[in-house]
């Protein structure tokens, strides 16, 4: 084969493989849209499930997922960002730093069901939070923590050292340098990572299985010590272990669609926010 033909062949292999990936994604989305689209209406989004979860809406599951996402971020965001700052800005390159990074990476590699079991053992039982929003949020937060740390670190790495040196040379302290120069520059990337990790957290089932998720609970929580329904678990329940699986098929596709839309919207939001902030950062 001539050099030129090899080039053409390679190009087409790469092109076909990328189209395959895009194709699978479009296929999944199309599959869910076609089957779930007719379920999307106001009633579905704002009402309690009825008749053994074959009718009504998924309102409590949507609200439950939003609570869990908010709770987990409230926990993971500050701790993760501060840890990321500590690792990148304050630790010197040593076995200590490598150890922290290795452990963070390992934490990211732990299967989510293990987080679920750990959360049940620590938050639900030992600390006595019971099956609750608090226990579920903390467990999901633990899962998101390594992602937030990594994203923060990467965002800080991408800030050129010349900005740090410029600030320090003007008599700024390290903390002032981080607060006034480094963080504003890293913020767009940190936010993007944060929102992407929200996308992941909102779709997780295993960590909430033993810590918060209710099988059927047609009411909104009163406090952080209440159980809630959540979209991914609700989807699992009505597709596999409900009493009338066949009749709740439509409900399942509707739920799946809402979950996918939620994640897609969050991703779009991440992009918009990043653009907005990277413009803003240059202006201030």
């Amino acid at each position: 084969m001539s050099k030129k033909n090899k080039e053409i062949l390679a190009f087409w292999i790469f092109r076909i493989l990328s189209f395959l990936v895009i194709g699978v994604l479009i296929w999944i989305i199309e599959f869910i849209f076609v089957r779930g689209w007719h379920m999307l209406n106001w009633e579905f989004l704002t009402e309690m499930p009825k008749d053994g979860m074959t009718k009504g809406g998924i309102y409590p599951a949507i609200i439950g997922t939003l609570y869990l996402v908010a709770g987990s971020m409230l926990f993971a965001f500050p701790i993760g960002v501060l840890a990321g700052i500590y690792i990148h800005e304050y630790t010197k390159d040593s076995w200590y730093k490598r150890f922290i990074k290795l452990m963070t990476n390992n934490l990211a590699g732990i299967p989510s069901i293990v987080f679920g079991l750990f959360g049940m053992s620590l938050f639900v039982n030992t600390l006595g939070f019971g099956d609750s929003i608090l226990a579920g949020s903390l467990t999901l937060g633990l899962l998101a923590l390594p992602v937030v740390i990594r994203v923060t670190e990467e965002a800080l790495i991408s800030v050129n050292n010349s900005f740090r040196h410029g600030s320090l040379a003007l008599g700024a302290t390290k903390l002032q340098t981080i607060r006034r120069v480094v963080l504003p520059m890293a913020l767009p990337n940190i936010l993007t990572g944060l929102i992407l990790s929200i996308g992941r957290v909102s779709g997780e089932t295993a960590p909430i299985l033993f810590t918060v998720a209710a099988y059927f609970l047609p009411k909104l929580p009163d406090s952080i010590f209440d159980q809630v329904m959540a979209l991914p678990y609700h989807l699992y329940v009505i597709s596999t272990s409900g009493t009338k699986i066949q009749e709740s098929r439509d409900m399942a596709y509707g739920t799946a669609l809402v979950l996918v839309l939620l994640v897609l919207i969050l991703n779009l939001l991440a992009n918009t926010l990043r653009r907005y902030f990277s413009k803003k950062v240059k202006m201030n």
Binding site: S162, G166, A169, G171, R180
Partner: protein
């Protein structure tokens, strides 16, 4: 008393002996050029004066660096590192304005040192931009991002930024090496002007530049100070043959 001097300073990066016993003194209101081939230690030497070498891991410094007679590396002489850096400003090789407005870039040094009084800050920003010969070009767009300026303007902004906290010494690490000839000429003119108020030490690879802007020139080679004399002497009648070879372009 000398404004700034070093006495037998040695600097090590780990095992590498980067500065080998440098003793030098700088007089107020003069421009001193540090020249020498890459890796000769001139930039390292420059960074001694505002302790930027401290940011590099495994650096060991021996000997004395004296500012107005006080050893800046000793904690007991009572000079905090941020106090030192207020007195010793620095301009870097590549323009590094912050991603902030032109105004806030110049005001930054004041703000981090706790000066926030609006009238005072405005006045100081204007004075500094005038000193850096940038005021006329930017006075109508102070709120615009500093990134919208050209490379040469950005470098003058960085000079203004350094001047805003009124240092007495200005360190310049190849300040024009990333700039076009016209911007370079402007920076050189500026250095000449600034000499009246500041003691300036400039690292440069450009021999003509050293000849044009400096009163005294120091030639470094392999971590040693080979020769230090008035600029005309270094360029026309150096004592040392290595200096002679370098300034005439026979090596380096």
């Amino acid at each position: 008393m000398q404004k700034l001097e070093t006495k037998d300073v040695h600097l090590y990066y780990g095992d590498f002996h980067a500065l080998k016993g440098i003793t030098m003194a700088f007089e107020p209101h003069t421009v001193t050029a540090l020249i020498g081939p890459s890796g000769c230690g001139k930039s390292t030497y420059l960074r001694l004066f505002n302790r930027m070498n401290d940011l590099i891991p495994n650096v060991k410094i021996k000997g004395e660096v004296l500012l107005d007679g006080k050893d800046i590396n000793k904690k007991i002489s009572g000079m905090r590192i941020d106090e030192l850096r207020k007195k010793v400003g620095m301009v870097f090789q590549k323009p590094n304005p912050f991603p902030k407005s032109i105004f806030e870039n110049v005001a930054y040094g004041l703000r981090v040192n706790g000066i926030n009084h609006a009238g005072f800050v405005e006045e100081r920003v204007e004075t500094s931009l005038r000193q850096a010969a940038l005021w006329d070009e930017v006075k109508d767009k102070l709120k615009k991002s500093a990134f919208e300026l050209s490379g040469g303007q950005q470098q003058r902004l960085c000079i203004a930024r350094a001047l805003a906290i009124e240092p007495s010494i200005l360190l310049m690490d190849e300040p024009a090496s990333a700039l076009d000839p016209i911007s370079t000429a402007k920076i050189e003119e500026l250095i000449y002007e600034l000499k009246n108020k500041y003691t300036i030490i400039i690292v440069t690879h450009n021999m003509q530049q050293a000849g044009r802007v400096s009163d005294k020139t120091a030639f470094f080679y392999l971590g040693e100070l080979i020769e230090f004399d008035s600029t005309p002497v270094i360029f026309t009648n150096p004592t040392n043959s290595q200096t002679q070879n370098y300034v005439t372009g026979r090596f380096g």
